[in-house]
Symmetry: C3
Subunit: 396 residues, 3 copies
Amino acid sequence: MKNINEGIESLAGIKSNLFGKDFLLTWEKSDNDLRTILGVAEVLREMRKQNISPRVFDSGLAISNFRDNSTRTRFSFASACNLLGLAVQDLDEEKSQIAHGETVRETANMISFLSDFIGIRDDIFLGEGNKYMREVGAALDEGFENGVLPVRPGIVNLQCDMDHPTQSMADLMHLKDIYGSIESLRGKKIVMSWAYSPSYGKPLSVPQGIIALMSRFGMQIELAYPEGYDLIPGIVEIAEKNALESGGSLTISHSMEEAMKDADIVYPKSWAPFHIMLLRTQLLKDGDKSGLKDLEQLCLSNNAKFTEWEYNEARMKLTKNGSALYMHCLPADISGVSCKKGEVSAPAFEKSRIQTYREAGFKPYVIAAMMFANKFENPAEALSKIMERDRRRFSF
Amino acid sequence: MKNINEGIESLAGIKSNLFGKDFLLTWEKSDNDLRTILGVAEVLREMRKQNISPRVFDSGLAISNFRDNSTRTRFSFASACNLLGLAVQDLDEEKSQIAHGETVRETANMISFLSDFIGIRDDIFLGEGNKYMREVGAALDEGFENGVLPVRPGIVNLQCDMDHPTQSMADLMHLKDIYGSIESLRGKKIVMSWAYSPSYGKPLSVPQGIIALMSRFGMQIELAYPEGYDLIPGIVEIAEKNALESGGSLTISHSMEEAMKDADIVYPKSWAPFHIMLLRTQLLKDGDKSGLKDLEQLCLSNNAKFTEWEYNEARMKLTKNGSALYMHCLPADISGVSCKKGEVSAPAFEKSRIQTYREAGFKPYVIAAMMFANKFENPAEALSKIMERDRRRFSF
Amino acid sequence: MKNINEGIESLAGIKSNLFGKDFLLTWEKSDNDLRTILGVAEVLREMRKQNISPRVFDSGLAISNFRDNSTRTRFSFASACNLLGLAVQDLDEEKSQIAHGETVRETANMISFLSDFIGIRDDIFLGEGNKYMREVGAALDEGFENGVLPVRPGIVNLQCDMDHPTQSMADLMHLKDIYGSIESLRGKKIVMSWAYSPSYGKPLSVPQGIIALMSRFGMQIELAYPEGYDLIPGIVEIAEKNALESGGSLTISHSMEEAMKDADIVYPKSWAPFHIMLLRTQLLKDGDKSGLKDLEQLCLSNNAKFTEWEYNEARMKLTKNGSALYMHCLPADISGVSCKKGEVSAPAFEKSRIQTYREAGFKPYVIAAMMFANKFENPAEALSKIMERDRRRFSF
């Protein structure tokens, strides 16, 4: 997109329901909601490029609550907040008094007196992460309704046990950018494939997020993994239903080789099996360290049976015209680079490396768009006003 | 307060002496100073609610120096700074070169070249925290007088061994909000009571801050604790003197039961005995780890004699109309919630839970007011100018 | 400088080549480049004093990547960024996913989608720090050229294994401030002397930075150290060449006593011997912990032979008029203060203490000037525009 005003105009017709709402799962959002997020993100991205400042907050805080490590998402969140004028304050649960046994609902209020958003990553415990975000949300509702908080801060899911919506939406924006429109995705074959990694316990949220989102646009989705490496069944069902409704399809298969045939897009990425994650969550809750060690050993030795699940040039040749679009949320486990044997061979990754950087680059704007649409009932109008006021991001 | 201009007008008549001064202890401040802080805080809070931006700094840093854990105060300080336009920079003494043996006076200058405020929490060592703040202050004076620093940054005490002025002032603002005016506090009975906690070594600064501040407004203060759990004698004396001068009273007693009778306001909260804190400070200074362990055991077993000091519904019934206002600086040790047996029973806490969140919500504005009054000789005039310029906190 | 407009005017005539360039080593920069940095820094400093806001970013991030501890430089970088309107986001490599084996070139792009600058400290590994900065730079070039990044963030070297340019330039600004002009430095004798410290492994970058920079202005440089405590030979050669070209001199000697005679300026500071740092780098790379311990012992016992290398009042008496200007990058190892026996005696340090604070106070403005000159092709014009717009840093 080069013409910002055209971008804003095309947004104006879409009726979304994002105002004042948290963004927790893509499958809770309507197609119009998703189109609005993409449209706003594109306009914000273009404004940034053209040195137009979309800053709408003169002051205000955004809280980041990372319960797992993060680089990309941390920086994307910080970038999005900064673009709109918010300062990020980290909730570092180790430096806080939360260890004293404070309840979630209390902490949620204590950090929110002057906050506009809370970004949360909580992807370690299956069945817990998304639940935690909803607990925070309920506490914020209570605080706002009872006059504790001057505004109800919005929550952005920065990855949970179920979904990774800022990632999948950035991926969708990347696809739209490459193919020109959401409509062009119809009929395209995308392979969400398990891939081998020497590490253990990778979250399920990316593959789940991808199949649940991409199934909404008429794509032919193939979900490929070694037997036993299932995702959360309920989310696969959602993807199946989406595929049915959108005129696409969802196939599950167990050979990377077979899956890659004629693929337009491939997304080879490791994850832990659903039943292992369930066990792990229980052991973590029980604080059973030796049990966790045993499970890790079991899991790694099981993984080791599938080192053949590496995306490489031979497999790339099987894809459409031998040049499917390779996607990854990064960092990828690259054989011979970041590990001995991993998700992708070095030459295969190198071919698409810059492409994956571009893919990652959409995330700050997706997050900013989620925040923007939470705050402005009519995002198109707000963006128009920003164009009118004509404020530079960088100037004297 | 709904009408900001009335709030500003009522401030205009009060002559305070806060300009360019640190805020270290409430008992160093005049009544007019305290009224100014409250008045400015109320105006700032209302501005925030009405989307008026009181930002007065286009750039500038505020340093936070937390030598003990914090959530509420950390976020309150960050919120206050952000509201006025300052970016917070943490002085993390572990990541710094301070371990190399740097002197306080050097560090104080090194972090202040472009700083407007330093917020300090140092509540672990009895006899040290407040002293440290004054050392920092003296170093800043020296730096400013010698042309090292372009401005003399103000210091805000975010809790020391003696006082916790941002807490007690937020508590006072809460009382003013509930009872309508400072004058209405006259004659009210407030019970600052020790309460049982399974943890050890809680600072004395909250109870000390409460009795020293609330005694200035004609309240009937009852300080209740098990024998031996004394506060710093010199601060109790200050509270006694204040009570005498303000036409109130200060009684010390040793039964929670008795103390609660007919109370308007109760503040049940654990603390460590003064003489234990003295011992602990010495052992910490000596690095005597086994001594510290022994002391902790002794102290915990001593505490365990007083598990009956729990605020619960039976005790609530003894208070005025069975419904005294319950206060706490949070997080409270809630029996059956954050610990087996603690300061307050779950049902008693639940009745006032939202109230305590509101109480905490005044802190960011109290801190902002302390900074505001340090920077503007005539705060009422500055607030008027802010109203005139009519800048939105959130807008396009 | 009092008159900002005169400062800007004198800048206008200097043709520099800093626009869009990283600042990694002073010896890669022309004299005009250095004069531009100093001139811009002086104007920015005076603007700050006169409450004129030089903020040029409405939003934007600056990344700090500290691979070693820092207080002064961390706060100086934060101050500089804040002055220009950028928010600092720390890249904390422990909290990130970089441990997963991510490549430098990937991380460099991931943190830069909305960044304008990256400040890097990497001074631990000889032969690595500066190289790392160039790797980051090459990755940013690649990202920018391939449309991954909307702008190419500038890199500021916040200390590497070779140079500490923000320190040496702040030191130069301090000398200019004291002697009135760069021209007045001609003929002055400056002694960069090794000094004893009980600590081990101090970087070489400060002495190297000082001799390589100060040799460009016709000064008589004496580099004094115990035999064996050499600096990186290639950098000493650069300083020798500079001295020759500028009409100054560079002498190497091995007696602090002798060196101090008739000195105008003295810079007594500890560092580790070049060959020890080489060994240490290899052992660190090999993860050879016992080898590192042995080396540390060897090094400390070797250091202990030179406790006489302390700058004290007796040595001060040998300097010109017994009152040479004492310089230090801080924190100094002060005998009887921060250690038993160190680089400088307490009375000698005390005489110049405030002076060293002032010296440190130039660093934020030097960093801000490096960023400013990277962003504006014509810094003088940009500063003029800032004067015209007349925006206050602090106001209602």
